[in-house]
Structure formats: C-alpha cells, structure tokens
Symmetry: C2
C-alpha cells in the first residue's frame, strides 16, 4: 500500500466526517469522503410533509454552549429560531400532574450535577472513585441515593432516557456522570432556553450538513457507496467499498461504534479496540411525530413540553416550525418502553403513543392527522440513537483508547468526543480532533 491515492479517506459523512473532511481540505489535503447513504448528515434527517410541514426525524437542537456547531451555523448564515416555550409544561410525577419539577426531584438532579463536576470529561476513568462508579449501574446508584423513590424514578427516566436514550440499568454511574459532564451539566443538558434544546434550525438540522458538503471540492464526496473494509499498513491504507478500493495515506473512521465494528479490517483491529467497540451499544430512542391542524394545546395554556415518570413516553415537545402549515407534537420513548413499542405492530405502536398523548394533552391529541416514526435502531447505517454509551465497566477498561489512532487509522464520531459527547457539537469536536491527529501524523514527504 502506498500513498499514491488520496491523502486522507474519511468514512462516514455525518457531522464528524464532514468536519474532518472540511478541515483536512482546508489544510491542503487531497481528501475523499465516503458515505453509505445517498445523503449526508448521519443522525440528522430532515423531511417535509407534502404541505411543507418540516420534521426533524433525528437530532435537531443546538444549545448556546455548543460553540463548535454554533460556529458552523453562523459561518453558513443559516437561520435559527428558539424552541417555543409559551405556556406550561406538563410534569407527570407520581400520578400528579404538575407544571414544574418538584423540589425533591430538583435536589436529586442537583446532586447528580454536583457529582458530574468531579468527573473530568477528558479523563473520566481518572476521576476519584471512577472504578467504583463504573461498577454500579445508574439504577443501583439511584436506588441507594436516599432520595424519595418517586424522585429516583422521575430523574432516572429524565437522565438515562432523555439524555442517554436508554434505561438507568444500561449505563454505569460513571458513564452517566461523564455524559453530564461532557455536556456541561444537568441544567445545560435538560434546558430549553439557555440549554441544549434552545435553538432549532430553519430548514432542519440536515441542512447544516448539506452546506458543509457543498463546500467540499468536486468529486470529494461519494454518496451511496458503503465502505466494506479498510486495509491498513505502515505505508498507507486502502478503503474498500462495494464499488472500488481507494488508497490513501490515512483514514478517518467517522462512524458510530457499532458500524465501525462492522467494517472488515485487514489486519484485524486490535483486541482492545474490538473490546471497546463491543461494549458501546447505541441508545434505543424512538422519536415519533404527531401532526395536527393546529397547536391546540396552546389554547389550554400548555407548551407541548412534558416529562413523565410513567407511561410509554418520557418526554414530548412542541416541534412546530414557525410559519408551518400544521402543528407537530414530537414524543420520545426510551429503554424498556422503546423496546416494548418495537415489539408491537405499527398500529399498536401508534395506538399506545396517541393514547398517552391524549392523557397528557387531552382528547384531540389522540387523533393526529399524521403519525410519523423513524426508527434509527432499524436503520442499517445508524443502528441506534441518540448515541452509544459504554456498558458498566467499559469506560474505565476501554475508554482511554477511543481517540487513540491505530497506526494510520483515526477515529471520529460524537462517541469519541470530550465535550458535547452525543451531540452535533461533539461530532464536530471529534472531526476537528481527528483532522489535527492526521495533520500531526503526516510525514514531511507526504505534506507536499
């Protein structure tokens, strides 16, 4: 294998791969970006109903602390708008219907926030008590926390579901705290105004990725060309797709862990990387969209936001874009509830969700005009959302090598990020870091 081909081949045109491609191109590298799908954007996917109603089927929000993705939005002059927050949220807490988070749950959230500040996101395995915190599930920690059971239940769903897209059984206390620390704390992550859900993108989040792709040189992006394997040696790499093989000096793998593990590597990946990839299951979030003629919940003084400690849905949000012809209520199920919904037929699934929407927002919510689901866990080129997380014990054992290059292979993707892990912002950070790693590793002779 020589370096007669490209300087760098990047695998995966989500935000991480697009960022790495842009950075490396800007630094004068000859790059090729390969994408299995016929579109860019990874876990961002924007679609429009025939009447023009915009739906973000995947990631959609940007918070003020997420400076890297924010910079891109500004760079492209993309319009944004604040997530609407008129009216009251519904907080379904222990069978009680409230408009605020009870103080007892707030205290538990504050304790998690305080604990997260003891976990350095750059080196979570080096935190004091890291091993002990990685040996217990977040569920066990909650159960032993001394907080009221109701608060445990609510906070477990809001944190492990709403943030990590799973259940408190699936990740350790350490992994949970790392995620919170990586995102800047509980308030930043859960919040709308001032928080991670503050801003939406006019035209949808996928649009940012499309603008990033537009700036790549002609021919540098190949869509609809799944990568099958990567050969790598001391002199270079060869990235093999269903259509061709592309030699290059370096490769950047910008895929979710489970997809990175599906590539055929020659020579095979190291034992430790295999162990790391095996231990990062993706979240099970199921995001559904119910479309109505109008945001009727506003007439009842409701914002469309809800959080629940029971029922099939953990949260809902008014997802109506400004000026849209119709109104969109978007709802999320996580963990065991999301698994149960997937065991049901599409009809049963819709019935279960709309019944719950009815309980939260009244009779009219039971009868959406449209009901749209996009199951990322079923998508061959994603396999789970929002992002992947280490199973208990995994972060301390394997976390340290996530962004360590393996020879001429470099690793990106939001799961490898230090800040904004799991978000667009982390994906961008990881792409910047991988690009820096490649540039640092380039030999004088290959830098031209």
């Amino acid at each position: 294998m020589g370096t007669t081909g490209h300087d760098v081949v990047i695998v995966g045109a989500g935000f991480a791969g697009l960022t790495a491609a842009r950075e490396l191109h800007a630094a004068g590298c000859d790059i090729l970006l390969l994408e299995a799908r016929c579109r860019v954007g990874g876990r961002a996917l924007t679609r429009f109903l025939p009447d023009g109603t915009q739906l973000d089927l995947g990631g959609q929000w940007i918070g003020p602390a997420q400076t890297r993705i924010g910079e891109l939005v500004r760079h492209f002059g993309i319009d944004t708008y604040p997530t609407p927050e008129h009216g009251d949220p519904v907080v379904d807490y222990g069978g009680e219907r409230r408009t605020d988070v009870p103080a007892e749950a707030g205290r538990l959230l504050a304790e998690i926030d305080a604990l997260s500040r003891q976990v350095p996101p750059e080196r979570p395995w080096a935190a004091e008590q890291a091993t002990a915190a990685d040996r217990q599930t977040f569920a066990s920690w909650l159960a032993a926390s001394g907080h009221p059971e109701q608060a445990q239940r609510y906070v477990g769903r809001v944190i492990s579901g709403g943030l990590l897209a799973g259940s408190p059984a699936e990740t350790s206390l350490l992994e949970t705290l790392f995620y919170v620390a990586s995102g800047g704390g509980v308030d930043a992550l859960l919040g709308y105004r001032g928080g991670a859900q503050e801003t939406r993108i006019v035209g949808g989040a996928q649009h940012i990725a499309e603008r990033m792709a537009d700036e790549l040189p002609p021919g540098a992006l190949r869509l609809g060309e799944p990568v099958v394997g990567v050969e790598h040696g001391a002199d270079g790499v060869r990235v093999v797709t269903r259509l061709a093989a592309y030699p290059a000096a370096h490769a950047v793998i910008a895929l979710p862990p489970v997809l990175a593990g599906q590539l055929r590597h020659d020579p095979p990946l190291s034992a430790l990387r295999a162990g790391a990839l095996q231990r990062q299951a993706a979240g099970t979030a199921l995001k559904v969209h119910a479309v109505y003629p109008e945001p009727f919940w506003g007439a009842d003084g409701l914002s469309g936001l809800s959080t629940s400690d029971s029922g099939v849905l953990t949260e809902t949000v008014d997802n109506t874009p400004p000026g849209a012809p119709r109104a969109v209520l978007t709802a999320f199920a996580y963990g065991d509830e999301a698994v149960a919904l997937r065991r049901s037929s599409p009809e049963e699934r819709q019935a279960a969700v709309t019944e719950r929407l009815g309980a939260l927002f009244g009779e009219r919510a039971r009868q959406p005009q449209e009901f749209i689901t996009h199951d990322w866990l079923a998508q061959e080129w994603t396999r789970g959302c929002f992002s992947a997380h280490f199973a208990p014990g995994g972060r301390t054992a394997f976390g340290g090598l996530l962004h360590t290059p393996e020879g001429r292979l470099h690793w990106a993707g939001t799961e490898t990020a230090v800040h904004g892990n799991g978000y667009f912002d982390g994906a961008v950070e990881s792409g910047l870091r991988a690009a820096r790693d490649v540039l640092a590793a380039r030999t004088p002779s290959s830098t031209g």
Copy 2:
C-alpha cells in the same frame, strides 16, 4: 430468491454450526456449511508443540452433566482422561495462602447457587425480581450482600472471571444467575471431579469438531470462505461469501453475537435483533500456557490448580496431557487484569504472568521453556472468549428473542443456549434446536 440451491446454508463451523449441519443432513436436507477459517471447531483450537506436547488454546473441558457433547464424544469413540487432581490446590485468599476455599467464601457461593435456582434458564426474564436483578451489576449485588469483603472479592473473581470471563462490573446479577442456572449450579460449573472441568479430550477438543466434519457429505463444508452477508426473503435466502452467493431455503447463523452483527443483512436485521446483538459483548479471557520440563509443582505437593483474589491471574490448572513429553501450566486472566495485560507488550505480558506463577508455585515457575498466548479477542473470526454475555438491562429487554427465527434466518451458537450456555454443550444444544426449527419451518413442497 428461490429455493433452487441448498435446503439450508449454515454459517460458522463451530460446534453449533457443525451440529446443525449434521442434524439437518441426517434429516435428509441438502446442506452447505460455510466457515471463514481454514479449520472447524470455532473456539476450540488444539495445537501441538514440535515435541508433541498438546495445547488446547481455547475450550477444552467437558463435564458429566454436559450430556449432548458427551454423547458426541462417545459416538466417535474419542478417548478422554480426567483432569489430574493430585496434590493440593493453592487458594490465595486475602494474602493468605490456603489449600481450600474458606468457609466464608463457600457461604457466599452457596447463596449465589441458591439464587440461581430461582432463575429458570428457559425464561430468565420471567424470574421473580428479574427486572431488579437485571438493573444491578453483579459487583453491586456483591457489595450489598453483607458477606465479608474478602469473600466478595474472591467470589467475584471466581464467578465473573472464571465462569463469565469478565469482571463483576460487566454483567447484571440476573445475567450471572442465568449463566449459573444454565450450567447446572455453582458446584457443577466450578468443579473438576464431577464438574464442568472433569474431562479432557485425548487429541484435544478441536478433534471432536473434526470428527463431526468428517461425517458431512463431500462438498458440504467449505473452509476459508468468510460469509459477508445474507439476503433473505419470503421464498428463501442467499448467503453471500467473498467467493460466491449460495441460494437456499433457510439459513442458520451459528456465530458469536458480535460476528453475527457484522454480517451485512439485506433487508437489514430488525431493530430488536440489532439491539440484542449490540448488547452482548464477549468475555475478555486471556489464557496462557507455560511449558516446563516436568510438573515440578507435584514435588511440592501441589496440583497446579490455583485460584486467587488478587494478582493478574484468577486461576491456573495443570494442563499436562497424559504421557506428554513436557508439563503445561495454564493460567487465566479476566476483566480488568486481561485488559491491562493487553495494554502491555508481549514481553511485559510474559513477565507479569510468569512473575505471578512464581509467586504461586515457586521460583521454577518463573522460567518456562515456552510461553504461549492465543488472544481470542484479537481473532477476527471470534472476538472474545469464553462467550458473550448481556450487559445489564439487556437480558430482560432483549433476551427473549435470541432463538426466535427472523423469517428464514435461524440463530444458533452457545450464546443462544438454554442449558450449558457458554460451553460446548450449549453450542450443541443450540445447533440441535436450530435444526429442529428449520425442519419445522420447511414447507411440504421443499421437504422433498
């Protein structure tokens, strides 16, 4: 896709795939068995040093309760011999060097055994308290068990390491109890005489697999032909390798979960199966063999068996075959210790292991003539040993579908077994079950 090809294509020629192939052939099916490696046997691999000393680099033992694999051994008239147990074991317990397991650890083991009897291996998710037991790691349960800390530490290593090849952080209480129940209880699993390590195979465990392969019809086994993907439809399947595509009425995927997840499926696998496969990481066992001119430990009255609650090795065993020219001491590291050894260079690894062997068995153990490691986690066509286990939360959410066919795709492998899960016996059981499923699913027109 039609059924003009084979009746059944089986992917993977370990004990599960070989069993399915034999059963289906015996039932009159036209079968094809595809194997990536140039040998059969999966996680059984027997090699001989130039002087004839036999080494089982993977699975090697059979217990009296493991009737399915035992029947095969008898069927082929393969000779066996008991694992030697002359002399005393070393039990390194809290810095004390003993020859038996302390009563306090025995009581903890007995409690685990009793709990495991409450978990039906056919339906562990239906056990009373299954959800609670799946939400906590085995480490958390141990810590809250009320048993002495030293017993927790010893038993954690012996059970999660010696049986599940990982750390108590990685699996839930439920998964641990399921594994114990599946194997017939703590005594059966940990024991030598009367237990799962009672019997060794003359000529090595791989030899059983070779005999199974010998009985297949000519041309039915294709070695060195990795399967890349499986196309499946209502009428049949097409199993795609690097060399060809084989149409068939049914396919049996007899691979460890992580490899099953690496196949390209068209249409893609269901969301639930993807979720299940993502959550089953394989064990991290590192099995090493130190070869000496003679079993010098016998002169000190030692059996070569050891278990330790500290140090890099959790257990050792005298692995000298009868009549072998040299003596073999085999040692196992698991979990964090196995990960740490993999971070070291081969030289550092050998030094760390032989230093520990010296501490357990005296100076002479520090200077083996040969030191052989075979890292199954690094093996492209295995990726971890002994077997895979669900991360916390996984068994209750996803365990129920492990042996549910997906259309014309059937699932085998020891990880799908009810009894002997993780052992040869479970692999054979899974192959028998998958064959039965295929035969039950065959339409009258295709049974010829």
